[in-house]
């Protein structure tokens, strides 16, 4: 069963996915735009909120599940992906979303990304990438540009930034996109497409931090540098071309689908269901569980 069978799901009013909790985000934060786009995407897909499990880690952006009416899990720093994979494995029928920041996904939780990709569960992972640690008030993040001065990089960062797009493309992710809250309709469409992709899907969102980030630089980028991949004639089935474009992360702001595997391999969830079904006739009633230990 796919996560969102179009034949049974009809669009729902996006407002149905909005909870009564007031976001803790600063006024002007890019995450508001991500939330709005996500609500639109969920409305378009039409799965009822109680069939959606929304997992996050720790950080400003990781507060997002609480602002929806889905089943939310605001877990611990960096571990949203393993928790989401457990949820999806236990019940592959659920629509499972994961969201978090660049620190959650590419620093403390970076080790889980390749494995989430190779396990290929039908999960959508949205990273709100602001190149800064906002919740802890302005420290260096794994995607901060070299030379960035923060309270923990007083003299400028000596490290190269992680390139989230190249990273996930390199690991073999079947769906890779990038969006920005400056283009709300485009972002909503990207998230919807990511959810509809049958497999692990990654959406990087350039979501400026207006308080601690270099919002001015980011905003300028969004306006001046935003390039729609569709306008560039990019073929999203071409992974090498996607990687070529992804190299411009941090310089150009490419928006759209970098890569969509034209022949998605079977998902983990589908395969586990098939395996369970194939082995079901070997299940033993409790009373016979010890028979294998009898020695004669």
């Amino acid at each position: 069963m796919s996560t969102c069978p179009p034949e049974t799901c009809v669009p729902i009013d996006p407002k149905a996915f909005k909870s009564d909790l007031k976001p803790i985000w600063c006024p002007g934060c890019g995450d508001y735009g991500v939330l709005a786009a996500l609500l639109r995407a969920l409305g378009a897909i039409g799965r009822p909120a109680h069939e959606v499990a929304f997992v996050s880690g720790i950080g400003c952006s990781s507060r997002i599940p609480g602002y929806t009416t889905a089943y939310g899990f605001n877990s611990v720093h960096g571990r949203a992906l393993p928790i989401a994979q457990g949820i999806k494995a236990a019940n592959p029928d659920l629509l499972v979303l994961v969201a978090g920041g660049d620190g959650d996904g590419f620093s403390i939780g970076g080790g889980h990304v390749p494995h989430a990709i190779r396990r290929n569960q039908d999960i959508t992972y949205i990273v709100m990438d602001n190149q800064i640690y906002g919740l802890t008030k302005g420290q260096l993040s794994p995607t901060s540009r070299t030379g960035t001065k923060t309270v923990t990089s007083t003299w400028g960062s000596l490290e190269l930034p992680v390139n989230p797009l190249m990273t996930v493309l390199g690991y073999g992710c079947g769906f890779v996109a990038q969006g920005t809250p400056s283009d709300p309709a485009g972002l909503a469409a990207l998230i919807e497409e990511a959810i509809r992709y049958p497999g692990f899907a990654f959406v990087n969102v350039q979501s400026p931090c207006v308080t601690f980030g270099n919002a001015e630089w980011q905003a300028a980028q969004h306006k001046a540098a935003m390039k729609k991949l569709s306008d560039l004639g990019h073929d999203p089935s071409n992974r090498i071309a996607a990687m070529d474009l992804a190299q411009h992360y941090g310089a150009d702001l490419h928006v759209g689908v970098f890569y969509r595997n034209p022949e998605p391999p079977p998902t983990y969830g589908r395969q586990l269901r098939e395996r369970q079904a194939a082995l079901a006739d070997q299940a033993k009633p409790a009373a016979q569980l010890l028979d294998a230990f009898r020695v004669v």
Binding site: L21, P48, A49, H50, E51, V52, A53, V55, I58, R63, P65, G66, T69, A70, Y71, G72, F73, N74, S75, V76, R79, L81, P82, I83, A84, Q85, G86, I87, K88, A89, A90, N91, D93, L94, G111, H112, P114, H115, L272, R275, Q276, L279, A280, Q282, A283, K284, P285, A286, A287, L289, L290, F293, R294, V295, V296
Partner: protein
């Protein structure tokens, strides 16, 4: 003779461990009770290896003390396992004649064994089945001298080697027969023959603790396992991977220990009974997520098969030094129940109990096993797993879903728990403190009420007397408290001491934490001397009890770290000194 302890050591290629496995399988098939432990050097292949097989006509609680029979294929390897293969005055030592050692000059410190017999094992093997059948010669010698497994060893070997072809099987049978013949031609000075088994042939089970933990999890309704391989717990994941899928479950080998427990927490959140298993180093990594399961009130069973530590420590040897970690490694005020099985057989009901507690109280539960129980093979009297009660989490009713609050304050502290997919039950699970609805809060007042809820719901646990076993004379002045695999040694020591007329009792907790103060208090109140027996350097159970219970100064810690397990006779010796001391103390007021 109703009891026989055999210890064997050799190099990797000697097949010592596989000989032990053949011996225990055939003995248990014949209806003997038996326990087998193995020990290896650190090499992946080859290197020294040893095993102990203890056989008895009656149920056994531990692998036994001083050996009745010692088999040394070479002395270097045998002596490396000194503490695990103790030789005494009643031991018959059988050794490879090619070592050139004279029977009167064995390289054993301070002991003259009952008998020492040099056997040309390699030579006999070479002439009867080939170099690789030394272990079959040894089994033949044991069968010949002690009367065990004459028919069943061969039947077992036929089953095991059947696939390898007639030639291999015939060689093995020939080597076995020549061992029997050699024993017949060289009778023991004081013949000892094992009594016939009292249990009917083919009626016992043979399993290890990791096997039983896995199968008990299935019986308890576990349908998700997330974990990462680590010695000595890996066999739990391996067996579940073979079995759990058949029952509609999933086994996920995660990328690390944290992801393993994370996935298990996620599966539990999704409404599935779930488990992870590890050993000390993995437990350290999982600790943060255990705190998450505590505050999000999610059921979870975490198995820690203890090995020597800290860090990599003694990865293949048993120790009971993760008790503090199990009880106290949480950050913040978090109470998670800790259960400890005391034998292979006991691992089954204790694992089911761990799931029941996790589900009933919506909490992570630590099942603190140890390497010895987890990896030793033990004969078990069959029981019906279907007869064990199985509990599941309390889900909200239709009416409760009308105005659902996931963390609703209740008298018991337990709130009905929904899961994704359940209409009307949506909530935010979180590591952050929350109100009844699950919404994040930073209120100190709410934090205190929620802590009270999370502690209050576990209160009834401390009244669970059925999670304790008390044996021996209820009014005895001497007492022992012991747990895990060491409890089995104390059970045997109790029987040996009682046979000598020593008045002693034994308390074995299967519930380690929270500490059931009343149970200990009642046990301790009659005592004038005694000890807490355990396998850790610090004496962690002893110290834990002193934290919660008025332990009188006459109760001492008898503790020793891993790799050097207690023998029943050592414990009896300690009890003897206590009886003497009590008598001396008793006479003290009068001479003055």
């Amino acid at each position: 003779m109703d009891n026989l302890v055999i210890g064997m050591a050799g190099s990797g290629g000697d097949g010592i461990v596989s000989a032990g496995e053949s011996l225990i399988s055939s003995a248990v098939a014949d209806g003997y009770f038996a326990i087998m432990t193995k020990s290896f050097g650190s090499q992946i292949r080859g290197g020294e290896s040893s095993c102990r097989v203890r056989l008895s006509t009656k149920p056994l609680h531990n692998p036994g003390g001083t050996l009745d029979v010692a088999v040394a294929l070479n002395w270097e390897d045998f002596l490396r396992f000194g503490a695990e293969l103790p030789v005494g005055g009643r031991t018959v030592v059988i050794y490879e004649a090619r070592t050139g050692v004279q029977p009167g000059h064995l390289p054993l410190e301070g002991i003259a064994p009952a008998e020492a017999i040099a056997v040309p094992i390699a030579e006999l093997a070479k002439a009867n089945g080939g170099d690789r059948s030394k272990n079959m010669v040894v089994l033949g010698l044991i069968a010949g001298w002690f009367g065990i497994g004459r028919e069943s060893v061969i039947a077992g070997v036929r089953r095991k080697l059947g696939k390898k072809g007639a030639e291999v099987m015939e060689g093995a049978c020939k080597a076995f027969a020549c061992g029997i013949d050699w024993a017949a031609a060289h009778p023991l000075a004081h013949p000892r023959v094992m009594d016939a088994p009292l249990h009917p042939a083919g009626s016992l089970l043979l399993a290890d603790g990791n096997d039983f933990c896995a199968i008990a999890a299935i019986a308890a309704g576990c349908r998700f396992f997330g974990g990462y391989p680590i010695t000595p717990s890996t066999e739990i994941m391996q067996r579940l991977d073979r079995e759990l899928w058949k029952h509609g479950g999933v086994v996920l080998q995660a990328e690390d220990e944290i992801a393993g427990v994370g996935a298990a927490v996620g599966a539990s959140y999704a409404g599935t009974k779930s488990m992870t298993a590890t050993s000390g180093p993995g437990m350290s990594l999982k600790t943060e997520i255990l705190g998450l399961a505590t505050i999000a009130e999610l059921p979870l069973v975490v198995v820690n098969v203890q090995r020597g530590g800290p860090s990599t420590g003694l990865p293949t040897k048993s120790e009971q030094a993760d008790l503090f970690q199990a009880c106290f490694s949480a950050h913040g005020d978090a109470l998670r129940p800790v259960l400890a099985p005391t034998s292979v057989a006991d691992t089954f009901p204790t694992t089911v109990e761990a799931f029941n507690l996790a589900e009933r109280y919506q909490t992570p539960v630590v099942l603190l096993s140890d390497q010895e129980i987890a990896q030793r093979k033990e004969a078990v009297i069959p029981f019906d797993p279907a007869a064990l009660p199985v509990e599941s989490r309390r889900k909200p009713s239709e009416r409760e879903l009308d105005d659902y609050k996931r963390f609703r304050f209740t008298d018991s502290g337990i709130s009905p728990i929904s899961h994704p997919g359940m209409a009307g039950g949506s909530y935010l699970a979180a590591g952050i403190e929350h109100n009844e609805a699950g919404d994040p809060t930073s209120s100190g007042q709410l934090h205190e009420r929620m802590l009270d809820k999370r502690f209050r719901k576990l209160e009834p646990l401390r009244k669970r007397r059925d999670l304790f076993v008390i044996e021996g004379d209820a009014h005895a002045p001497l007492g022992m408290i012991s747990w895990g695999s060491t409890a089995g040694v104390c059970r045997e020591a109790l029987a040996l001491a009682e046979a000598e007329g020593i008045r002693v009792k034994l308390l074995v907790p299967r519930l380690i934490f929270p500490v059931a103060e009343e149970v200990y208090h009642e046990f301790l109140v009659t005592l004038r001397a005694g000890m807490v027996v355990e396998q850790s350097y610090q004496g962690q159970l002893y110290r834990l009890l002193r934290m919660y219970v008025d332990v009188p100064p006459e109760i001492e810690s008898m503790a020793r770290p891993g790799g050097n397990p207690f023998l029943p006779e050592e414990i009896v010796a300690r009890l003897r000194t206590y009886t003497l001391a009590l008598q001396r103390r008793h006479t003290r007021p009068f001479p003055e």
